[in-house]
């Protein structure tokens, strides 16, 4: 395959390059595993292959995205027949989050491995396998390779989540992940089996070309929503998500949330590309599902007292926003409104990218906080900004960005999604107006709650007086560990400044997603309608950053005569303020959580304070996921009870198992003979 690499035409060379990158990452992971006894060598091999592999893969991706190069198919000979690999603009776009987060995570891991005694030996093997599986998934144009890559990805993720397997809750989180992910994969297998039976092939290209009987496409769509919905965290299917991200190592959570869960969106869009024109009901399913997901996730996030759980639920919230935008696009496709469909899809795609970068920063930030404080509990933090200024700045920027506030990148993509809603409101169709109402007021509510969530998180972790043990020595992260943060901050800045220039490639990707089913032309999507608003938003954002910083510095230099900052907080004349008098994270969110308490059902443990001079009192709230508690635990308990009698079949005697195989084969033989 590689022998005559240099003689190939450029197009083919680029495709080969992508495969070389995948191979390099895999081989690097395996070599790092072999050399694991010598930690330095293993780190250099693992991180080096990750970074070089990502750089190599970035070239074909950039070529496909920006120069609209059509890469040829690549045929692989597998035991079960030929499989094609293809890198089109959609796959190239979805590899961007991987290519941004994977090097950052590799840098973080490499810098950490010296200090952290918990870093396990095979982490490079699994991390590189995860990234390689995701890149392979994006390149596969065949159901079989797609499913194999999907499974590899899930298995690598499972072992990465369970790295602290001495903790019982980490084990249970990983099991939840494994079960959820396999329930999802079962739906996907069924989906691809249906498609391949109908078309007589495993190739995606053949699926798209085939005739679909009535009702078939809706079944396929529902299977896809279920199977991929598990990965992205669609409302009732999200229960694995908060725990898994919480118990995984911080950089692993970053790549799981920023890149792996995005593969769910990729799969969903890929299947939509194969199905005929979307029905209205599909769009509504995604809009309503996305809206409920977003609101539920934020209420749960506000009720949590574990910092990583807050950040995990926020991943789910952003998935809700993206699903809403995709749903809006599907509805607009079914109404033949290319402008709205294009804008909504472009907003969804850009939001995927923005969320990946911000979430990478936030999860790595939680890792840095854990590194400094040794805890994840919000109630034990506070006042970290003075001790860890670098982490504080990174976390602050990422918090403002993830809350969807200007002047940062996530606002730009949310703004584009809002514009799709505004354009839908012009229509005289009552359904379109309803869609606009759901989008606008839903996004506004989600935005407000997200601001509350991240004001709470940043404010109570980094600001105020320290609640932790004063004797605990604390220092900011080491310079080497700052590199991945700086890298992601640069990515974030680039996503703000370059947003107007990104519109054109992103619009092409969204056109590619909808071109076949709808027959829209690229010009119908009216990318030009976005230039002016997005350009002005970017101009406002940059002006804001410059003016605020300039004002602050001028005030500090010239107007600060006679200032003093050596007094305790005035607070209307409190004589001796104490860190324990501060508002805590649960008191901050209590009013909001109380309003939604029928949904989140917080547990409250505590004793009533009674009598004069009470000596001892304690109060604790705890909010495990209500859907897990009230839906899935009873459901799986029921399934367990129903299947209990079948346990007799699983007795561990090998000769009887062989007998089962024989009986099955015999039954199949009989069936075959009778059927003929």
């Amino acid at each position: 395959m590689l022998a005559n690499y240099w003689q190939m035409p450029l197009q083919e060379q680029t495709m080969q390059q992508f495969i070389i990158a995948i191979t390099l990452i895999t081989v690097g992971g395996i070599l790092a595993f072999i050399t694991r006894k010598n930690r330095d060598v293993s780190t250099i091999v693992g991180a080096g292959s990750a970074i070089i592999g990502s750089l190599i893969a970035a070239v074909p991706v950039a070529r496909v995205l920006f120069s609209s190069a059509e890469l040829p198919l690549l045929l692989l000979n597998l035991p079960l027949g030929e499989a094609t690999l293809k890198l089109d603009a959609v796959s190239a776009f979805f590899s961007l989050p991987i290519l941004a987060l994977f090097p950052a995570v590799a840098l973080y891991n490499a810098a950490c491995s010296k200090h952290d005694r918990h870093t396990h030996d095979n982490c490079w093997l699994l991390l590189n396998m995860l990234a390689a599986a995701m890149l392979l998934l994006l390149a596969s144009a065949n159901a079989l390779t797609f499913l194999i890559a999907w499974e590899l990805m899930s298995v690598a993720a499972f072992f990465l989540i369970v790295w602290r397997d001495e903790i019982a809750s980490a084990r249970s989180a990983a099991w939840q992940f494994l079960i959820a992910s396999h329930v999802g994969t079962a739906a996907l297998m069924l989906l691809f089996a249906l498609l391949s039976v109908q078309s007589g092939s495993l190739e995606f290209a053949r699926f798209a070309a085939m005739y679909m009987p009535a009702g078939f496409e809706t079944t396929a769509f529902l299977l896809a929503v279920f199977g991929f919905g598990v990965k992205v965290g669609l409302l009732p299917l999200h229960v694995w998500l908060p725990d898994s991200y919480t118990f995984a190592d911080a950089p692993v959570s970053a790549i799981l949330s920023g890149a792996m869960s995005k593969m769910g969106f990729y799969g969903l869009l890929r299947v939509l590309m194969l199905l005929p024109l979307p029905r209205e009901s599909w769009g509504w399913l995604l809009v309503v599902g996305g809206l409920l997901t977003g609101i539920f996730a934020l209420i749960m996030a506000l009720a949590q007292s574990d910092i990583k759980k807050v950040v995990s639920y926020s991943s789910m919230e952003n998935a809700g926003i993206i699903l809403m935008a995709i749903g809006c696009s599907l509805l607009a496709m079914s109404w033949k409104q290319p402008e709205i469909a294009g804008i909504a899809m472009a907003g969804a795609l850009l939001h995927i990218l923005n969320h990946a970068v911000c979430k990478g920063l936030l999860f790595m930030g939680t890792g840095a906080i854990y590194w400094g404080t040794g805890t994840r509990r919000l109630e034990l933090m506070g006042g970290l900004a003075g001790k860890m200024p670098f982490t504080a700045v990174c976390f602050a920027l990422a918090s403002v960005a993830i809350a969807g506030l200007p002047p940062f990148n996530s606002f730009i993509s949310e703004f584009i999604i809002f514009i799709a809603g505004l354009k839908a409101a012009i229509s005289n169709d009552p359904q379109a107006l309803l869609l606009a109402a759901a989008m606008l007021s839903g996004l506004a509510l989600i935005g407000g709650l997200a601001a509350a969530t991240f004001a709470r998180t940043f404010g109570l972790v980094f600001l105020g007086a320290a609640r932790h043990d004063k004797k605990h020595e604390m220092q900011d992260i080491s310079p080497a560990l700052r590199l991945p943060f700086i890298f992601l901050l640069i990515c974030m800045g680039a996503l703000i400044v370059a947003a107007p220039w990104l519109l054109s490639p992103i619009m092409r990707v969204s056109w590619l997603i909808m071109a076949r089913q709808t027959g829209f032309a690229l010009v119908d999507l009216s990318e030009a309608a976005l230039w002016q608003p997005v350009g002005l938003v970017v101009a406002f954002s940059l002006t804001m950053i410059v003016l605020v910083l300039a004002g602050w510095q001028l005030r500090r230099k010239f107007f600060s005569a006679g200032e003093r900052s050596d007094r305790p907080t005035w607070d209307c004349g409190y004589a001796a303020p104490d860190a324990r008098m501060q508002y805590t994270s649960s008191s901050f969110s209590q009013t909001i959580v109380d309003i939604f308490s029928p949904v989140v059902r917080p547990y409250k443990h505590g004793e009533k304070v009674s009598g004069l001079f009470p000596q001892h009192a304690s109060f604790r709230t705890d909010t495990p996921d209500s859907l897990l508690r009230y839906l899935f635990v009873p459901l799986f308990g029921l399934i367990d009870r129903i299947l209990l009698p079948l346990r007799g079949l699983q007795h561990g005697r090998l000769h009887l198992y062989i007998c089962y195989v024989a009986i099955t084969l015999l039954a199949l033989l009989v069936w075959k003979v009778v059927a003929i």
Binding site: A392, A396, G448, G562, R567, D571, Y574
Partner: protein, 306 residues
């Protein structure tokens, strides 16, 4: 679209905005049978504060120092995006109201952070209330906006207000009345007025906006007070543009009419503050959700009218 003449008017509005709280206070004084502070009181306060030097708490960080500038920038740029004096806004484009709402959002975010920065229980309390109430108020604003977009088929605030004439009001009086009431409530919520919050209260436990800036002093407080006045002017002119239309008038008349209408809004706020008592905090969310419900009823009326 950038409109230089409107930018000048907008600057005028910004400079004159501290008059609005003065007018509100005069109205309240009238109802209370007092003479009340002069209309220019806020100017005097700001001038006095600018001469003083700050005292910061030892727990505060750079957030407390940056926040006043973020709050001021957010209010000033929001003023640039809102249509003034029955003309188009200083800068107008598709979706400008989204940017407006989110710019005010970043100002609020930093005010909340600054409150948490002091590490005080009272300020934390105010911050927690502020984030909840504003999250509930925003959907009402956007729901109302939706009806206006549908009515005028425009997506920028200036273009919407240009098309929104008395005729539209005559055709669907109830719809527009509901939106006006709902936006009035949003104005009261966003600017921390009675019945949601009391700018004059002296009990920290019940305050929202005032308690968040409890530890600010001198120049920083001046910037925040000024930004508050500008924010009030922004919401008032949003309401004025919805209720009145004066596209055909000449510039001097437009300015006069706009000034009169803004004064009217301030007087209405003053009347509301004098006649209604502040709600119990537990009832405030219901009240705000009620304003959203009004906007939704307006939307349904619009749907049934189509």
């Amino acid at each position: 679209m950038i409109n230089p003449s409107s930018i000048l008017i907008c600057l005028l509005m910004i400079v004159l905005s501290p008059l609005l709280p003065g007018i509100i206070n005069k109205t309240k004084a009238f109802f209370g049978g007092r003479q009340g502070p002069p209309v220019l009181q806020l100017y005097f306060d700001i001038a006095k504060l600018l001469r003083k030097s700050s005292v910061y708490s030892e727990t505060t960080t750079a957030v407390t120092r940056i926040a006043p500038f973020v709050i001021l920038f957010s209010a000033l740029s929001a003023a640039l995006l809102v249509p003034v004096a029955f003309r188009s806004a200083g800068i107008s484009f598709t979706g400008d109201i989204i940017l407006l709402a989110y710019l005010l959002g970043i100002g609020r975010f930093f005010m909340v952070l600054a409150a948490l920065d002091t590490g005080s229980a009272f300020e934390g309390m105010g911050a927690a209330r502020e984030v909840l109430y504003s999250a509930l108020a925003e959907p009402a604003l956007f729901c109302g906006l939706l009806v206006l977009i549908n009515e005028t088929s425009q997506t920028s605030l200036s273009a919407i207000y240009e098309k929104l004439t008395a005729e539209c009001w005559w055709q669907n009086p109830m719809t527009f009345l509901l939106i006006a009431v709902s936006w009035m409530i949003v104005l009261l919520v966003e600017n921390a007025r009675i019945p949601i919050d009391d700018p004059n209260t002296h009990l920290e436990l019940t305050m929202i906006h005032e308690v968040m800036i409890l530890d600010y002093s001198s120049k920083d407080l001046a910037l925040i007070e000024f930004a508050g006045a500008v924010k009030l002017a922004v919401f008032s002119s949003l309401l004025v543009g919805l209720v009145f239309s004066g596209n055909e008038l000449g510039l001097p008349l437009q300015l006069l009419a706009f000034a009169a209408a803004m004064t009217l809004v301030a007087i209405i706020v003053g009347v509301v503050e004098s006649t209604i008592a502040r709600f119990r905090l537990l009832h405030v969310p219901k009240f705000i959700v009620g304003s959203g419900a009004l906007a939704i009823i307006a939307l349904i009326l619009k749907l049934s009218g189509n």
